[in-house]
Symmetry: C2
Subunit: 433 residues, 2 copies
């Protein structure tokens, strides 16, 4: 029996119980931090030499010369050729759909001209060069390559540099094939904090990038936090979560499996179900207990569900939406009749999966939207990874002589109010018309 | 005589000299960091009581009861009434122009429906509640209130909470008037790390917000860095900079004053001029020496120009644009004939001011675009503050039964490739059509 928390929104201390359930403190380990600072300093000072040393030490990979850390584009293509037909076409279909969706996110430059000839606008440009971290070993996910690389390429990033550790030289064919499909420009077989340092500072071999994206372990996350400011970074992800709102009319096995699909990621992952029907919660519980023994990752699933999962009885779907907004989940399934009616009430979520047929797994792989989503309630203020993360804006101002005269007088008054005389004079010089 | 650096792009070690000039290490002071962590912990644990204690200690402000730290909206209105007519209309005109410009930045939700009925899209919502820090005392800038508050309000933020320290109870009428014009919802007279803590955690009196924006001193910046993740923050600003590219045909006094207008901010501010004409650089130097003695903030201007300023002779305007892209300046003036021709070559800048009539000061106050811009080369990967910083996106996926069947088969193949059996089954359950 899986010992999963059962709650009801009418419990006396429900709010507190929910807070406890959601609580997750990302511990910033001081030992990791110290190690990371040392690695970053070494890579900054000694470049390629430090990369070779750390790769030897941490990845057990002998690198005789620095050129060996780069994989050729031919190597990526041959990984793609090596896939069986169904895997290859699945990856390619996913890439096509992800590309189509992200093309809708491209921002265009704009401007307008005022009556006196003054032009105002915003110019949109892509980042020049982006680094993408792809974890090695077991956590090497080709879907993660697609989700990070495609928006960068759609944005028009000129050079996309992938880094991925290959412990003891082990290469993941699916990951390399995904890189081939996404036209990744360069691939280096380095990982950990040293790879983040190489991308942030540049070495003789690895080019310095403008932004680093992609998931990694605690060392990678700490290194990204430290280089933030020198380069851009994507969000720092917490454990993955799903919140399912069900009206009690979906097959309980489907819902149980949706909860499993989140729980199988790791023991900190969070799966929560909200439903107004007690009997349905019982049925899901029964499905959980029956299905879990069939799951290859049942130990992870059990630990996740028992640590952080919950089945919660709510008064009605309206209350379920209120609770969802409070949680601001990474993934929200609306497994209800007429989901359109309820989606309007949701203000905070990374992605919403509408209707009984839309399980989260579709979004993880191939529906089109990005699977890199804000976790731990950060959907209150942040967004899925998108093309907009690889574009930036520059304001444009061109005052006509008449415009400069009018604006100059206003600017001078405000500058004087702030005690900034040079600002005022600089504006007044232009008041010639 | 102002001892400003003179360089030429044909100097033997020009690249190195430019790097040295641009180098700015934001020192993260460990003492400040420790103090800030202590303050944040106290505010988290003891809420209003800690706020009262720190306000008494740091702002020399006796707060008998916690209600006293809030200013009423009537108080803001009376500040607005108290302004003289020219100041009031200058502030109002600036607000109107800033609002018009930012209204162009509003993103709208979108979706599309595929042939099989599957719907994909992105829903855009405003942040619920935003905190805005406004420095007190001398650095209290009403323009900063306009530039931070207006995009939040245009985005549709429901509640905008301003915090501003009032050392010894001193209120800045212009700042309060600007808050009235922008319809700021609540104002608290608190500052420093304790104000950031109050906004991030919430106290009995100060509501918890979703994002904190606005400039502040080293304590405020350190506090923002620490609460990042729990709430969103805007960028952490470095010293302000201007890069002027001039063809040598603008009045040298205008250019000198533009350099001053940046330099007068503080001693770390950076003003650089690029020009292909030596004689013009000499003329600007002469203007600098002549005009500096007339400036109220001449000591700051001198220190800034001597520490971090430079007049640089370039081969031609083409090379000037290349150097500008390398610097990725916060502010870039193209004080040249036909600036449209050159703006195309600029890839990295916070804001571009085109033509001889467009001095930076117009953009600081009232042209319309935001004056909160990426500094220290971060324009390579980040953007001016805008409405987009107060909106967030949620992905929408609604698979039709036929779509779920097709997508489910693809997702299952990819999930199996990643060793995630529950993902695969969850998708396959939906392959019923």
């Amino acid at each position: 029996m899986v010992d999963i928390t059962r709650l009801s929104s009418s419990d006396m201390h429900f709010e507190q119980a929910l807070d406890n359930l959601l609580m997750f403190e990302a511990t910033q380990d001081a030992t990791i931090d110290q190690a990371v600072l040392q690695i970053l300093a070494a890579v900054r000072e000694r470049g390629d030499q430090a990369l070779i040393e750390y790769t030897r030490r941490f990845d057990k990979l002998e690198v005789a010369s620095i050129e060996q850390i780069e994989l050729s584009r031919d190597r990526l293509q041959s990984a793609l050729q090596s896939l069986d037909a169904s895997e290859r076409s699945a990856l390619e279909l996913a890439a096509t759909r992800i590309r189509s969706y992200h093309e809708k996110q491209v921002s265009e430059s704009w401007h307008y001209v005022e009556a006196d000839g003054t032009l105002l606008g915003q110019k949109i440009t892509a980042l020049d060069r982006v680094g993408m971290y792809v974890p090695g070993g077991k956590a090497a996910y080709p879907s993660s390559v697609l989700m990070n690389a495609i928006p960068a390429k759609v944005a028009g990033v000129q050079e996309l540099v992938m880094v991925t550790p290959t412990p003891a030289g082990e290469l993941n064919q699916l990951v390399l094939a995904a890189a081939a499909i996404c036209d990744v420009d360069r691939v280096f077989t380095i990982g950990g904090a040293q790879a983040i340092g190489a991308l942030a500072f540049g070495t003789g071999t690895v080019p310095k990038v403008d932004k680093i994206v992609g998931p990694g372990n605690a060392y990678v996350a700490a290194a990204k936090r430290h280089v933030f400011g020198l380069v851009g970074i994507d969000m720092l992800a917490g454990p993955s979560e799903i919140l399912v709102i069900c009206d009690g009319r979906t097959d309980p096995e489907w819902i149980a499996m949706d909860l499993f699909s989140q729980a199988e990621h790791d023991e900190q992952a969070q799966s929560i179900l909200l439903c107004p029907e007690s009997a349905f919660l019982d049925a899901v519980m029964e499905s959980i207990n029956r299905l879990i023994t069939t799951m290859p990752r049942q130990h992870v699933i059990r630990a996740s569900l028992e640590n952080r999962g919950a089945l919660i009885k709510v008064r009605d779907l309206e209350e379920a939406c209120t609770i969802a907004n409070r949680i601001a989940p990474e993934h929200l399934e609306l497994s209800v009749a007429q989901p359109e009616q309820w989606v309007k009430r949701i203000r905070h979520a990374g992605a919403i999966f509408l209707g009984r047929y839309t399980c989260e797994a579709l979004g993880d792989y191939c529906a089109g939207p990005n699977h890199v989503l804000p976790t731990s309630g950060t959907a209150r203020f942040s967004s899925p990874l998108g093309v907009y993360d690889f574009q930036k804006r520059t304001s444009l101002i061109q005052a006509s002589p008449a415009g400069a005269a009018e604006l100059g007088r206003v600017a001078a008054i405000l500058a004087k109010g702030e005690g900034l005389a040079a600002h005022a004079l600089s504006a007044e010089y232009r008041c010639t018309k």
